[in-house]
């Protein structure tokens, strides 16, 4: 029998992150904890999330299990909880039962074979920047009403996020000293669709730092962790396909 007890904060983070990409997902549970990989229907964005079993209040899983769920339905359950609640999830036949305080509710599990787990493409970039989430969020917001794409530029001594349309433009420039870490030997640049980034950053409420890796016209990887504690919280990475300029 699969039975999990999780804090509302952790569950909300998982659901918010999944919601940036998909409306259905398969949660994989094994001896290490929870893993979810999901790609959006367009195959433009992907998310890979992990939560250690130690981050659960209770974690009772026989070897391995898979729970295919409707993310919207999970969102509905989260709305019922107060911020201090813990949620108990029990898999019963084809249903997932939730207990939160005085409320219990169950939702149907989806057919495991109908929700596919994507293969994560092998992506590797030497250059990366680690910056405060708030800084990136400001840069993205500045670009929001300018264009639907944003160009990220990394140089050995600075990081830029630039957006331009025929009539408007915006740019955020962060010097190496403003950044937590910058590892870049030659200039790299690549453009990305802005809407996915805005949604991701918004869903990373408790993350403080983000690690962005990319190279010229190449997928962007954003590594995140929602807690500073080594064990606690949700960690993972987000991949986003570039927008090419011909």
């Amino acid at each position: 029998m699969t039975k999990l007890s999780i804090s509302i904060k952790n569950l909300r983070e998982i659901i918010d992150l999944l919601n940036t990409v998909v409306s259905e997902a398969k949660l994989k549970l094994d001896s290490n904890g929870l893993n979810v990989k999901a790609v959006d229907s367009a195959h433009v964005a992907m998310i890979d999330i992990h939560m250690n079993r130690e981050s659960f209040i209770d974690y009772d899983v026989d070897q391995e299990d898979e729970l295919a769920v409707d993310v919207d339905k999970l969102k509905g359950i989260i709305k019922l909880a107060t911020s201090n609640d813990n949620i108990v999830m029990i898999k019963e036949n084809e249903r997932l039962k939730f207990k939160l305080g005085s409320i219990s509710k169950s939702i149907p599990l989806l057919d495991n074979s109908s929700v596919l787990t994507p293969k994560v493409p092998a992506i590797h970039s030497e250059s990366y920047v680690i910056l405060r989430k708030g800084e990136l969020e400001r840069g993205l917001k500045a670009a929001e009403d300018v264009s639907d794409a944003i160009k990220l530029i990394m140089k050995p001594d600075e990081f830029r996020a630039r957006s331009a349309s025929e009539s408007e433009d915006s740019e955020m420039v962060l010097q190496k000293t403003d950044l937590i870490e910058l590892n870049c030997s030659t200039e790299v640049k690549s453009s990305y669709p802005l809407d996915y980034l805005l949604r991701l950053v918004k869903s990373l409420g408790n993350a403080e730092e983000l690690k962005l890796s990319f190279k010229d016209d190449y997928p962007l990887s954003i590594e995140f962790k929602t807690s500073k504690d080594a064990v606690e919280g949700v960690s993972g990475f987000f991949l986003l396909a570039p927008r090419m300029e011909h």
Binding site: S23, V39, D40, S41, A42, H43, V44, A45, M46, D72, P118, K119, P121, S147, D148, A149, P193, D217, P219, L239, L240, A241, P242, R243, M244, E245, H246
Partner: protein
């Protein structure tokens, strides 16, 4: 064996490049052989569909959504894309162009096969719920970005129902017969199709080489078929001559053709175009259900507005009021009687419009006048002669106010028949239909043959009949008509060649409501160049893909150097003089059911004789 979508789109390119039927048949035949187990999907995709017509499944992708996707992909503003679309005219070509410019990449790509495209389009059609718009959009985006610009062009056209290859069903059928070597029983294949017009379903049978199934063609309850049609002649003596001196004659009711299917207590009504209209006629459905002698059956008849108390038949337009307002031209025009009113059913298919406290059933009572029965309690009657079928109909049907048998006599006397004809007109009918008493007078689905001959009269014109013509082009107007079309280019259908041949330019008979709405009515059908399935010498300002049929009257048929109707047979074309729109849009007819060139030739010859 998997068919790559790139190979499929190469075939589509080749089909677009020719309008010759034999060449098309060859191309299709090679494609079908290469399709392997993807054949069924290939057949649907060629027709720009994902399921048979009677299932009514569409992708549910709107042009607006495609424009948003193109905007996302190309980085162009939707406004700019719309402007470009205005110039290019075809969203498929525009997609192809934009895919070559700025482009969103994907994290990974699946191999683009026919299977993947078909299944994704089907998935898109099935998605519903709060997030479905975004998911549909993303799935579509994935399809467009996974293949080449050429593939994207066709995917967009298919998704929007605008593939418009101009390939007739009969050509696809010919390709199938050729690919799977059914030439020896090609007639049976055609009959099978006419009783079960689902080319994808037939392709499976041919692929499996199931010859027995094909030979056992016939009607099946709940599968709408192509109804039998009548030829036409200009006089009663000529009809009698054609039918061997004696025939049965029935009233030709002016209503909506209805094929009524009954199975295990369920009743469904389909139009002549095989669209289900059950939801609009709950009273007829109930009346059919109360017929005790039919467990399973298929009836053929005409639904007519009829007052049983007085025996009065109302004009055809009254029946249109039962159909909804989905495509009405405007609120004011909706009141006008002579305007097309497309059918509409509420989501549940049960909507009944209310007028005051009365339901529309009370206001416009409909009676179903039956004239044929092709299936009864497990038995196929279609291969029995007309007389036997009529007897079966009389034995089976209990006449009520809602269900009647068509008025009928058998006679060899022209005077008696002339009187019967006059009576039919007096009773509010269009005329009469002669039916052969020969034992070989079987029910031939989809065929217009000499076993049934119609005789209609229009007192004002030299020609005794109206024509149902497909619209293939339009000319911009001048003066008062500067912002609308001044004339439409209309065509007859050549079944042998599978193409539309022009027959007249129509500029009169429109109410102002219709006239000034013409560009809007045809906006979804405008194409950038001459459709592949149209033969025309005239070059209109706007080409229109033939998918709307209008009823037209004229004064006479003349030889014309500028029209193409029957040009092959006569060297010059035939044209209709003084054409005039009757006000009736034949939205119940598919363009391939427009008046055909053989009928025109027959009328032309008769007209010459009478002079």
């Amino acid at each position: 064996m998997v068919l790559l979508f790139s190979i499929f789109s190469d075939y589509l390119n080749r089909m677009t490049d020719t309008s010759k039927r034999l060449e098309l048949k060859q191309i299709l035949s090679s494609l079908f052989i290469e399709s392997g187990t993807d054949l069924k999907k290939v057949i649907y995709l060629i027709q720009g569909k994902i399921a048979p017509d009677y299932e009514g499944k569409e992708t549910g992708i709107a042009e607006k959504t495609v424009i948003e996707i193109l905007s996302d992909i190309s980085g162009n503003d939707p406004e700019i894309i719309l402007r470009k679309l205005g110039k290019i005219g075809d969203i498929g070509s525009l997609t192809q162009e934009l895919m070559n410019s700025n482009k969103q990449e994907l994290l990974f790509k699946d191999i683009m096969t026919v299977d993947k495209v078909f299944n994704t389009l089907k998935l898109i059609s099935e998605k519903s719920g709060p997030d479905s718009t975004k998911i549909k959009k993303d799935l579509m985006k994935n399809l467009l970005l996974s293949g080449s610009a050429d593939e994207a062009k066709y995917i967009v056209r298919i998704a929007l129902g605008k593939l418009r290859l101009g390939v007739a069903d009969s050509t696809i059928l010919m390709g199938l017969v050729d690919a799977f070597h059914f030439e020896d029983i090609s007639q049976d294949v055609e009959s099978y199709y006419n009783f079960n017009p689902d080319l994808a379903g037939i392709s499976e049978i041919l692929f499996k080489n199931d010859r027995e199934e094909i030979k056992n063609f016939g009607p099946k309850p709940m599968i709408p078929f192509k109804v039998m049609l009548a030829e036409r002649l200009q006089s009663i003596p000529s009809i009698l001559e054609k039918m061997g001196g004696k025939a049965a004659f029935e009233y030709k009711y002016d209503g909506l053709r209805a094929q009524v299917h009954i199975k295990d207590g369920t009743v469904k009504i389909f139009s002549r175009g095989n669209e289900e209209t059950t939801g609009q006629f709950p009273d007829v459905v109930e009346a059919v259900k109360s017929q005790r002698k039919i467990k399973d059956g298929i009836l053929d008849g005409e639904m007519v507005p009829y007052n049983p108390a007085t025996g009065e038949i109302f004009p055809f337009q009254e029946i249109s009021r039962r159909r909804g307002r989905k495509n009405d031209l405007s609120t004011s025009s909706a009141k006008s009687d002579n305007i097309m009113k497309f059918e509409v059913v509420s989501e549940e298919g049960k909507e009944i419009q209310r007028a005051g406290n009365k339901t529309i059933e009370d206001e416009i009572p409909i009676t179903l006048f039956l004239f044929d029965i092709v299936y009864l309690n497990g038995k196929d009657l279609s291969r029995k002669g007309y007389s036997d079928r009529r007897k079966a109909l009389q034995r089976t049907i209990k006449e009520t106010d809602k269900i009647k048998l068509a008025q009928r006599i058998e006679s060899s006397d022209p005077a008696e028949l002339e009187a019967f004809f006059e009576l039919s007109i007096e009773d509010g009918c269009e005329g009469i239909v002669a039916k052969s008493l020969d034992k070989k007078s079987i029910y031939r689905a989809g065929a217009r043959g000499w076993n049934w001959i119609k005789y209609k009269r229009d007192y004002q014109s030299m020609i005794n009949d109206t024509f149902d013509l497909a619209v293939v082009g339009a000319f911009w107007g001048h003066g008062r008509r500067a912002k609308t079309y001044g004339a439409l280019l209309l065509a007859t259908y050549n079944r042998e060649k599978g193409i539309f041949e022009t027959f007249c330019k129509l500029g009169t008979g429109f109410t102002d409501d219709v006239l000034f709405s013409l560009p809007r009515i045809f906006s979804g059908s405008v194409v950038p160049g001459k459709p592949n399935n149209v033969d025309s010498i005239l070059i209109p300002d706007v080409w229109i893909y033939p998918d709307k049929v209008m009823e037209v009257k004229g004064a006479e048929i003349t030889v014309s150097p500028i029209h193409t109707c029957n040009k092959d047979a006569l060297g010059k074309g035939l044209a209709l003089r003084f054409p005039r729109f009757t006000g009736r849009w034949r939205d119940d007819k598919k363009p391939e059911n427009a008046t055909n060139n053989i009928e025109i030739l027959e009328i032309y010859k008769n007209q010459k004789k009478s002079l």
